[in-house]
């Protein structure tokens, strides 16, 4: 069962799930992102250009994926302060492919007011593309 409406650390349970997050991995989104951060490289914004670089198609920038993870955490707990997001990129997150981000609480430090969250980005085949952990501080 997904936890929602988390306001303080007392609302969090070990093993509690964050609501799943479906990121916008469309080519329009990566082009917008590229424009704002000043990245025009084809690997993020153009499928054909990315294929010329040996990729299967355009891929979502890693830092954009990390942004999705932050957005998921803030939808779950709007007042959370994200201390760290630590990711392992196992495979590219492909543009225009549906992905789902899941999160689950795997550690709670009530003294510090922090929680650790396992995060996983999977594609439509259920393959893990990115995994990692996030540490967030919640109001006590």
């Amino acid at each position: 069962m997904a936890d929602s409406n988390v306001k303080t650390i007392a609302d969090v349970e070990f093993g509690g799930e964050l609501p799943n997050f479906v990121p916008d991995t469309s080519i329009e989104a990566t082009r917008r992102f590229g424009k704002f951060v000043g990245w025009g490289t084809p690997r993020f914004t153009d499928h054909e250009g990315a294929r010329k670089e040996g990729l299967p198609g355009a891929i979502v920038p890693g830092v954009m994926s990390q942004g999705f993870l932050g957005a998921m955490i803030h939808r779950w707990a709007p007042d959370a302060e994200i201390i760290a997001i630590d990711t392992v990129f196992r495979a590219p997150v492909q543009v225009d492919h549906p992905h789902t981000i899941t999160g689950v609480v795997t550690d709670i430090d009530e003294d510090e007011g922090t929680v650790e969250i396992d995060i996983t980005i999977t594609n439509e085949a259920g393959e893990t593309r990115v995994f990692g952990t996030a540490t967030a501080k919640l109001p006590t």
């Binding site: 392992v88 396992d118 952990t133």
Partner: protein
């Protein structure tokens, strides 16, 4: 008895899971395993004592290693001080056949893991290096591999007559127990694990969750 034979904790450079949280997760989520083996990358953890955690949670917690060879990554079960000093665990290009010889000489077992993966899996290197001598068991179910990578591993095992084990290759808490290995006898120590593997009495369990 079901053990996850391939896990990593924060002792590994890319591991993010605390052992205590693995235990808590297994019990909270009723993960159907009786224990797990910590196979930290390029090292053996002689220092940590997990006996208290194991007792508290009623789990078996064993230790092994994951070393790196010209054929990719290899799990080593039954690591002892003499074996640890027989070759350089920190090397990223150990000769697989030498690792196997050292393991055989020190009552340990070497098991190539995720052999279906590009670069770090054994099947990717067979064309270049040929079939290595001494391999008896490979990991055919790996919780971190794609389905097609596990299929390559299973096909290679069938063609070369290898037995298969399963392990989650978990690096974060919630991935533990995704794959595992079932033994018909109790396995509560590293020595018993080696004995059971050498007796070739086990069954790999594919991804469960």
């Amino acid at each position: 008895m079901i053990l996850d034979l391939h896990t990593h904790s924060i002792k590994s450079d890319d591991g993010r899971a605390k052992v205590q949280n693995y235990c808590q997760w297994i019990r909270t989520r009723d993960i159907p395993i009786d224990g797990f083996v910590l196979t930290e990358h390029r090292q053996f953890d002689f220092e940590s004592d997990y006996s208290g955690l194991a007792e508290t949670h009623g789990l078996v917690i064993l230790k092994g290693s994951e070393v790196e060879t010209e054929y990719g990554h290899v799990l080593v079960f039954g690591v002892t001080e003499p074996l640890y000093h027989a070759f350089d665990f920190t090397s990223i290009r150990l000769p697989l056949e030498e690792v196997i010889e050292h393991c055989n000489a020190h009552d340990a077992v070497a098991v190539p893991c995720h052999p279906g993966r590009p670069r770090v899996g054994m099947s990717a290197h067979l064309a270049e290096h040929g079939v290595p001598k001494g391999v008896r068991i490979v990991e055919i179910y790996n919780g971190g591999s794609r389905a097609d990578e596990d299929a390559v591993a299973a096909q290679m095992a069938e063609e070369l007559g290898y037995l298969g084990i399963g392990g989650s290759d978990s690096h974060i808490v919630s991935h533990i127990g995704r794959c595992a290995t079932e033994f018909p006898v109790p396995v509560t120590t590293e020595a018993e694990l080696v004995q059971a593997l050498r007796a070739e009495r086990f069954e790999p369990i594919p991804r469960q969750h």
